[in-house]
Subunit: 197 residues, 2 copies
DNA sequence: ACATTTGTTAACCAAATGGTTAAACCAAAT
DNA sequence: ATTTGGTTTAACCATTTGGTTAACAAATGT
């Protein structure tokens, strides 16, 4: 179904840029190069179209996150893999993080709705692992949740707050992406240094 | 002007929660306990009301940020003061960061508009200072911009991605705020450990 | 060949929404 | 007491917006 895809991709772009409330069905139709009625023919209504887009967006990110939560690697290895693969991925979808965060904040019910899914990112195993490696004396005694927050903060924030950051530290889009490229390795080194005993 | 304040505070709450596009003038009027026409009497239109709120919001945060950019302290001291005072402040306005980031992303023109102000946060001095302390051998050789991004990421992200984080690591609002309280000291220690030579 | 389902459109509709108007209210000045 | 100025409201208006309808075209099955 060619048309359905065109709509979906148009919706993906528009929703990502304008958010749910800001997006206009007409704009999505124009972007897809079809009549507005087609939107409702293919995707009942705005909510459902948005939900499809949002779940797809989250579905793209979840595997990246789950990797770090589920794999058998050591903490160090996990952090290395995560920062690298997450940033690599997000460089290709630079507006995904802010989109997901924004809509989660604006529609808190999404959070619960999403946590009901089976493959939801669940950090409990990782947290146990951290606690264990602390006991073993591999890591300094820190709050595992804080470390988790660190990892996400360092990787996700620059993309989520892109506009503000670019403006504040005065870098072009190219320089910014260059910084992010450099950041893959950088984050890993910083975090390891700060938690290794 | 009692009414004007009531409107402003109502708008502050509603805009923060729903964003510019999501906020309804009627809702702001209800929240302020006045007639919708009063909004337009006091603040011409939605854009102007929003701009007042947004600039005020940013105006509250800017001093916190400028402190770290302008003071004469050492890097270590700056980071300590910043994380502590920023988080303390934001605990009282937990939705400010996401609000500012969201609207900056949705209205990129705000960024340029804001960068024109005189008291805009300007990190060049801090960056020079970092470069200098690296030369002096106090800090490891790192990219100063990365360090800057780290500091913001670690402090701001948890608030900006509040809904997602709370859901993912499964903490109540109280536990979350407790984590943030703990985080004031934690961030400082982590960063120092990772950059001190 | 023909009927039926599927895809597509232009025109239309009702509700929501930002914004306006004209009248009422009310305190202070005259 | 009356005027006058700002303040407040109810009712109204124009536009936008999500959504529908009915007609039409294009496949698709028989």
């Amino acid at each position: 179904m060619r048309t359905e895809e065109k709509i979906f991709e148009a919706a993906f772009r528009v929703f990502q840029l304008k958010g749910f409330k800001g997006a206009r069905m007409q704009e999505i139709a124009d972007e897809a190069g079809i009549n507005k009625a087609m939107l409702h023919y293919c995707f009942k209504n705005k909510e459902l179209l948005f939900e499809a887009v949002f779940m797809n967006a989250f579905g793209k990110l979840a595997p990246q996150i789950n990797e770090i939560f589920k794999s058998q690697d050591s903490i160090f290895e996990k952090i290395k893999k995560f920062t690298d693969s997450y940033i690599s991925f997000v460089i290709d979808y630079p507006f995904l993080p802010q989109f997901i965060i924004q809509e989660m904040n604006n529609n808190p019910e999404f959070v619960t709705k999403f946590l009901e899914k089976e493959n939801r990112p669940d950090p409990t195993k990782l947290i146990h692992q951290i606690e264990n490696e602390i006991k073993l004396g591999i890591l300094k005694p820190i709050n595992p949740k804080q470390l988790l927050i660190d990892i996400f903060s360092m990787t996700v924030f620059p993309f989520a707050a892109q506009a503000l950051l670019k403006g504040m530290i005065q870098v072009s889009n190219e320089e910014f992406m260059q910084l992010m490229e450099e950041r893959k390795k950088y984050i890993y080194e910083q975090i390891i240094t700060s938690i290794k005993k």
